[in-house]
Amino acid sequence: MPVTNSRRSRNTGITLSRRAGMVFVLPALILFVIFILYPLITALSYSLFDWTGIVRGDFSVFDNYVTIFTQLPYKDAIPNAFVHNILLFVGAMVFQNTIGLGLAVLLHRVRRFKRFFQTVYTLPYLVSPLVVGYLWSLMLSPLFGPVNAVLKGIGLDALAQPWLGNPTTAIWVVVFVTAWQWVGFPVLLYGAALGGIPDEIDEAASLDGATPWQRFRDITGPLLLPAIGTVSVLTFIGAMEAFAIPYALGGSAGNPAGATDVLSLLFYRTAFESGSSNAIGTSSAIATLLFLFIFGVALLMTWLMRRAERRLY
């Protein structure tokens, strides 16, 4: 987690020789190369070949990329899934930077029950996304789901409905459940960042007559910027990689009718369930594009964040 800002502590003395250093790095390097670097690079190369089952055929340059943009089901499924990933990101950001930040700021002032609140807010973040998805699918069930029971109980019968069966509401359920699970994470991170801001700054401003909102806008807010940046980057990566919650709520096909489909589900289906003879070629093309997009945007966001920080301090 790139939590710190770029400043490093001064202690970078040299006490290891180059060779000794290499010996220390070697075990991690071997694991990293075999299980991360090699498969990643290979996956990119897969997308440039024509495949028959698991047999690699001719070098086909960008044929697989042409396929995924011109042929059904890909040319419809990719934009559909992409929009859903973006909705997940936006939903989580809106949720986190209003509710999450609000909770963290309030919690920072509280003495009593602080630990209790912190624990409660973080619990959903700890639970497996798959469990969270299944749990909410039961909660929202049209048969005996507690959510509809509550709605009926308070006289809102009209709102009670099969949330996951309806294509227009289903994707919002996925967005909501994802955001619900993630709120605890910014509460923790923003909480830690707030803890790192000396009280004196805020107190001095309040002595100078600044209102709470002014103090937040001009002091606390800017000082939280590194944390907000970190949360945004991680939320973006998380939203683009979302798999388990959509899988639990809509199955591997993104039911109903692709309404809850996301890119990683599409990739999974193409690679393992499509039955297409060139499944490896097309799925690797999807993976490569997704890979470039996620890594590119994450790098860009980190760079923008660093620049904004440098301008502030």
């Binding site: 909770l103 509280v110 798999f243």
Partner: protein, 299 residues
């Protein structure tokens, strides 16, 4: 910043603290703070209600649930747990998950400790490059490399072998773990190394005897933070584990969810079982997690 500004600021801050202390009792009852704590309680309810319902319902029976979806377990029963644990084979999934999580977290922490130590005690372009490469792993959508990974493990005869998951998770943990640990090692004064060297200790002994005990809090943080995603991961076992005997909990749950779709009480018991270890870990380590994060954040 000059010394005079610092001292003015400090004295002003002291004055502010004094005046705030004097004002505080009056402020506590404002509408704002009342709404604030109301919001804290309301969100606590939203965050925890589904989880509480999950646990409560796991002690009820299906007919009871159909009658009142929000009722309390008036005659709590463990039947559902028995069914999930034995009939649905959660015991197998549970111990597979424990084994995979513990082994991979220990392995990745061990190799990351060594690497982080090297990064903090060397200064050469190659190490900067390696550190950057590891760090970039934080932003790479690594699961997209699943096909080559699958073929690699298949050619080694390791599909459906829990060690395939352990090695993959250990590698995936390296970016985060080295990142946190390197930060901690860098904070340890170089004089420690020099003193140990004078006493005749080699680099490995210095690392083991001097540095390792001092970064214990960071080790705990790394272990807790890696435990969560590894325990919860669904994607890798879904693809790398084909044999039901080697299923981890998340894959076991998908199976079980299809099979017991109408037996809600058993479903709730299964979901609860998959969640318990993390909640226990978290309750034991909240302080560790929060202080670990703070340490990671501070400059």
């Amino acid at each position: 910043m000059s010394a005079t500004t610092t001292s003015t600021r400090a004295s002003r801050a002291r004055a502010a603290k004094a005046s705030r202390a004097a004002r505080l009792p009056g402020q506590r009852l404002t509408l704002g703070s009342f709404l604030g704590s109301g919001f804290l309680w309301l969100y606590a309810l939203i965050a925890i209600a589904p989880l509480v319902l999950m646990v409560l319902n796991s002690f009820r029976t299906m007919p009871e649930m159909a009658k009142s979806p929000l009722g309390l377990p008036l005659q709590p029963t463990l039947t559902s747990y028995q069914k999930a644990w034995i009939t649905a084979d959660f015991q197998t999934y549970f111990f597979n998950s424990i084994f995979v999580t513990v082994a991979s977290v220990l392995l990745s922490t061990a190799v990351s400790l060594l690497a982080a130590y090297a990064f903090s005690r060397t200064k050469s372009r190659i190490f900067t490059l390696l550190e950057g490469t590891f760090l970039s792993g934080l932003m790479l959508p690594v699961y997209l490399a699943i096909l080559p990974l699958f073929f690699l493990l298949d050619s080694l005869g390791m599909v459906s072998n829990l060690w395939s998951l352990i090695l993959v998770y250990a590698a995936l943990g390296i970016p985060f773990s080295t990142f946190v640990l390197t930060g901690f090692f860098r904070q340890l004064p170089i004089e420690l190394d020099e003193a140990a060297k004078l006493d005749g200790a080699g680099s490995f002994t210095t690392f083991l005897r001097v540095h390792l005990p001092l970064v214990r809090p960071a080790i705990a943080t790394v272990i807790v933070f890696r435990f969560v995603p590894v325990w919860n991961d669904f994607f890798y076992p879904l693809i790398l584990i084909r044999d039901q005997k080697a299923y981890t909990l998340p894959v076991g749950i998908t199976r079980f969810f299809g099979e017991y779709q109408t037996d809600w009480a058993t479903l709730f018991a299964g979901l609860t079982l998959a969640t318990i270890p993390l909640v226990v870990l978290f309750l034991l380590a909240t302080k560790q997690i929060v202080s670990g994060l703070t340490a990671g954040m501070s400059k």
